[in-house]
């Protein structure tokens, strides 16, 4: 049985003098892969490469065995791709249904009955079945985000690329979204970029941490979280030995340090702790592309 896969070999991407990605080697299989990293780490660039929206400056990308640099093969990839960009505008006057229906047309759903049924299905998946006739411009930011997610889900694509899908989405919808993506990931490759580590912890088997265009960590979420074991503790004051510390809702300070401590009150480490320990979250200048977008 052939398993759907994506492979990147020594992939790099530059924008003028700015290097957004360098020497990225990845293999992606069906399942949910989370992409973490600070602003300007190259997450959006990587997702745009996978979504065939951008060619690499160097290296080789293969999506489902097809080369996105060959026009005919790129079309083949796009037939099996769902992509939710970080930011998407909506044409004036379009309702949610009309917009998703238009994208379905562009995804070659030419039979009206089947297309309309599919549009209703994906709007239902993102909780917008009652708002299909509402103009998108009149919708809230979270609802618009869900419209852009709905179009990505059309046809339950074998490859689903999501750039910050949960931004602005309420907690209830985020839980629903996790259910949808988990179901889809049984057969599809789902790659999502997010700043919400709890989404990655709840949904992803694998996490990739990017920093300054390079892969800083690539492995199971549990392994990354495990790296923070013994390095997270609670105290009444910020600990000078901690790399990061902040005041929690209980009034106590959560400290994260690079060394394992025995003389402290340990706390259960989270993915966010491990990510911060890894060095993620340190703000970097944004890439030229992200500044442009």
């Amino acid at each position: 049985m052939v398993t759907a896969s994506i492979s990147l070999r020594d992939v790099g991407r530059t924008f003028g003098a700015t290097r957004a990605l360098a020497g990225v080697d990845l293999d992606l299989k069906p399942g949910v892969t989370g992409l973490l990293g600070p602003n300007g780490a190259g997450k959006t660039t990587l997702l745009r490469l996978l979504a065939t929206a951008l060619p690499p400056s160097q290296g080789q990308v293969r999506v489902l065995g097809l080369d996105p640099e060959v026009p005919a093969e790129r079309t083949g990839i796009r037939r099996q791709l769902g992509y939710q960009p970080q930011e998407v505008g909506f044409p004036r006057g379009f309702t949610a249904f009309a917009f998703v229906d238009y994208i379905a047309l562009l995804k070659e759903w030419s039979q009206p009955a089947a297309r309309h049924a599919e549009v209703r299905r994906v709007l239902d998946l993102v909780g917008l079945s009652d708002l299909g006739s509402k103009r998108i411009r009149a919708m809230s930011g979270g609802q618009r985000r869900r419209v852009s997610l709905a179009q990505a889900l059309l046809g339950s694509p074998p490859v689903l690329i999501l750039d910050e899908p949960t931004t602005g989405v309420d907690p209830e919808q985020r839980v629903t979204l996790r259910t949808v993506l988990a179901e889809l990931a049984r057969t599809s490759i789902v790659v999502l970029s997010t700043h919400q580590t709890e989404d990655v912890a709840a949904l992803c088997e694998r996490v990739i941490v990017l920093d300054r265009g390079r892969v800083r960590y690539d492995g199971p979420v549990t392994d990354l979280t495990g790296q923070a074991a013994g390095r997270v503790w609670l105290a009444d004051e910020p600990d000078p030995a901690a790399k990061v510390s902040w005041r929690t809702g209980t009034g106590r300070y959560r400290n994260i340090g690079t060394r394992v401590r025995d003389d402290v009150e340990h706390a259960e480490p989270s993915l966010e702790d491990a990510y911060l320990l890894l060095g993620g979250g340190s703000p970097e200048p944004e890439t030229a592309e992200e500044v442009a977008s």
């Binding site: 796009r78 992509y83 939710q84 004036r92 917009f99 994208i103 039979q111 239902d124 852009s148 889809l184």
Partner: protein
């Protein structure tokens, strides 16, 4: 709310069926565009309701289809083409390529073209080709004048709007171009009235997507201007083809791009030849009836 998922190949049909469905959608969006609906309403008023039985000059009513179906059609097509630009991050990674989407947009020009054909029929009903208002032109040239003034601009305007929408970012570009073309045609027409026999002025008059071929004096006498109406139609059609090719060029890759550029070069050469033939053909001097 349910979270039912369905898996398996989608009910898609690549190729012609998908393109036809997209073209039909764009056609519907164009037809429902308020600017185009206004253009149609004004044209209907000008050709069906407005003219009285005592019309003494064809040039008082025949520019309306060019202005409204062509000019306003250009603005509507421009808006239609630009409308999905904000969604390009999504639209740009679908299987239907940008040239194919452009081709679907170009097909909407068939609607104003059909409107132009109907308007021509109404015009001929209003002022029969045998009427002396057409001046010294023969019956065939009279038809050519009307086709070039009514039908072809209705086709070419929207095509120009699509090309403009594909290449220009300025939101008011179509309106500005409309004013420029209107100004140019007005200017060269006035020049021709002053110098009806001048060859350079004739070249300027025909170097436009729309041209007048007659002038009615206060006495009622009709003067036919220089130039061949039939070759002028050829020149106009070549401009239409250039607009389509320029629009298709945006986003075209590798061999398709090479082919488009080659065809564009050939069409541009043909346009120059047809313009020269329009200039050298027809009456060689202004002829009064």
């Amino acid at each position: 709310m349910t979270t039912t998922l369905t898996f398996g190949p989608p009910v898609t049909s690549p190729g012609r069926a998908a393109f036809t469905a997209l073209a039909a959608r764009e056609l519907r969006r164009f037809v429902l565009n308020p600017v185009f609906l206004f253009a149609v309403a004004i044209t209907v008023y000008a050709q069906w309701v407005g003219p009285d039985a005592g019309t003494t000059e064809i040039d008082t009513i025949n520019p309306y289809p060019a202005i409204f179906l062509g000019g306003f059609g250009m603005m509507a097509a421009y808006w239609l083409t630009r409308s999905m630009r904000v969604s390009e991050p999504v639209v740009g990674v679908t299987p239907i390529t940008r040239p194919a989407r452009t081709a679907a947009l170009c097909l909407v020009a068939l609607v104003p073209f059909a409107c132009g054909c109907l308007t021509l029929l109404r015009f001929v009903q209003l002022i029969p080709v045998s009427s002396p208002l057409y001046g010294p032109f023969g019956p065939s040239a009279r038809v050519a004048v009307l086709v070039g003034q009514i039908v072809i601009p209705a086709l070419g305007g929207p095509l120009l709007g699509v090309a403009l929408g594909r290449w220009v970012r300025f939101p008011g570009a179509a309106f500005v171009l409309f004013l420029v073309l209107y100004g140019w045609v007005s200017l060269v027409t006035i020049l021709t009235m002053w110098h009806p026999g001048s060859a350079p002025v004739m070249v300027l008059r025909l170097f436009a997507p729309f041209a007048f071929f007659t002038d009615t004096l206060d006495s009622g006498a009709v003067t036919a201007w220089r130039g061949s109406p039939w070759f002028f139609i050829g020149w106009q059609l070549a401009l239409c083809a250039i607009a389509v090719l320029v629009a298709l060029l945006r986003g075209a890759e590798s061999r398709v791009r090479t082919r488009i550029i080659r065809t564009l070069a050939i069409t541009a050469a043909a346009a120059v030849v047809l313009l020269m033939l329009a200039v050298t053909g027809g009456f060689t001097h202004a002829v009064a009836a």
